[in-house]
Subunit: 302 residues, 2 copies
Amino acid sequence: MSAAKELGYEPDLIARSLRTGTSKTVGFLVADLANPIFAEVIRGAEDRLRAGGYGLLLTNSEGDPALDEENVHLFLRRRVDGIMLLTAHNGDGDGIDALPSASLPVIVLDRSVPRGSRASTVYFDYAGGFRTAVRHLLDLQHRAIAFISGPESLRPVRDRLDGFRQAFHDAGLEPDPKLIRLGSLAPGFGATSTRELLDAPVAPTAIVVGANRPLTGVLETLHERGLRVGTDIALVSCDEVDLTRLFRPAISVVARDTNAMGRIAAELLIDRLTDPTGPVRSVVLPTWFIPRESSASPPAQV
Amino acid sequence: MSAAKELGYEPDLIARSLRTGTSKTVGFLVADLANPIFAEVIRGAEDRLRAGGYGLLLTNSEGDPALDEENVHLFLRRRVDGIMLLTAHNGDGDGIDALPSASLPVIVLDRSVPRGSRASTVYFDYAGGFRTAVRHLLDLQHRAIAFISGPESLRPVRDRLDGFRQAFHDAGLEPDPKLIRLGSLAPGFGATSTRELLDAPVAPTAIVVGANRPLTGVLETLHERGLRVGTDIALVSCDEVDLTRLFRPAISVVARDTNAMGRIAAELLIDRLTDPTGPVRSVVLPTWFIPRESSASPPAQV
DNA sequence: TTGTATGCGTTATCAA
DNA sequence: TTGATAACGCATACAA
């Protein structure tokens, strides 16, 4: 018996899955592996899942909604026990498209879900962090503050913009709609938006970048125009990454704990896997503003 | 028959796996998901694997060799068809430790394997890129060139150092051994090494960073000492990432196509999966030097 | 407590 | 060409 196991017997997990109907595997759908932030989320999730005895089946849908659905379909055929969704789009309606109709637990990360959905969510309080950041700029006497972010269909984009607006309203001010550029998460959108903003009649004295990838495009354009960050124009961006931390002058950011997002999402999923009757929970994590040299007072005049 | 399939029948992949003995799943073991370079490799691999009908089971071993072996063991129990290994360590001997004794195809990425191993490998010609980079520095009349990299047990570290030495020898010169710091891939090692180098009797006029993560520590220390990159000290680093491309002055790098590494590794694996009698192939990809403003001539005197 | 049979959903084999 | 049957390796239910 036990002596037989000394010979190195290991239960075949495939056979066990077929018999028990549980694969001890979770499908993780990520929109864009190239985003360093997403890698951190996956790391947090994988750690927790592995500790719980689950494997992580990873798939990348490159921001293509059709691939989202195809990949979720494959998860189902592979009989994953649960699904974690970190997609690029938020669907046409109020929530994510790719939600499987099947009854297995789904955790949606950083996106909104339709009203009444059975999916758990993990989300960040973006409005809070951006409100603080923009208040900081207003305190420094900036008034022409631009906001560059992704498509308005994304909840993080809307919430960051909300925080931006709230800070203005808190100060009894109104943001200039012409300085708000919503469009895409691609770096190129950051570049063209910045060019347009700088060429407009009223150029901004500060730029708030409400997404981490467009920042690279923004920086490229500022370099190209010979503008010094923090001196000629103030800058606030998203996420604590090597670039924002080590750029000189260091770039002020609204930071968040992405590793925790992955870990907590895995936690929520494991909870629902071990107790399917449990409640559908939704967790909101904080964000916080880290002021640095990139956000200084506006140049003396104008 | 076909009408039955109209009702939405989908073969159960678990049952199929049990029956056929092939899971259409590949295990990907990565040492450190936090490294943005690794994320690109995974992206390349996942794209190709998905196209070939394979799923990617991802596990992160945080640079812990014990976890490496445990994770490979779990891959085996999950009956993956093949394994891709991107580990942190290279083992005590001549090659990687975690190689499973089982007979399934293994692809080792960016590491060396023991003589006579049945594993395929994908590797970069690091020596070539670093030789060019250091020749460039020597042409600019730098002589006190420091080299900071990870542990000598890693093949990429050894090969980058080889390129460094070759460039000196090509010029009929000898590198100063006191300026060579081999130790760890952690950012902190870059920081302490830089401090020691700057405090030594003969401080370097140029630093070559032979790894991408220590660069952050190097930059921190240079900032801390008030040294201007490209003006007070020349800098060459590894890998085209946001930080090296957008830092000002832009940082010269030895670049490589990490996405291609993942894609080609997946290709090699699929080849061996479809034709198990095929040869064990090893691919070496090029690296190339991108000179930028961070590598300028040394300050006029000394 | 220990042992034996059945079925999970496939695919492959063999008979018709 | 078509249809029934066995087996992959487990876990479970039931019998001893």
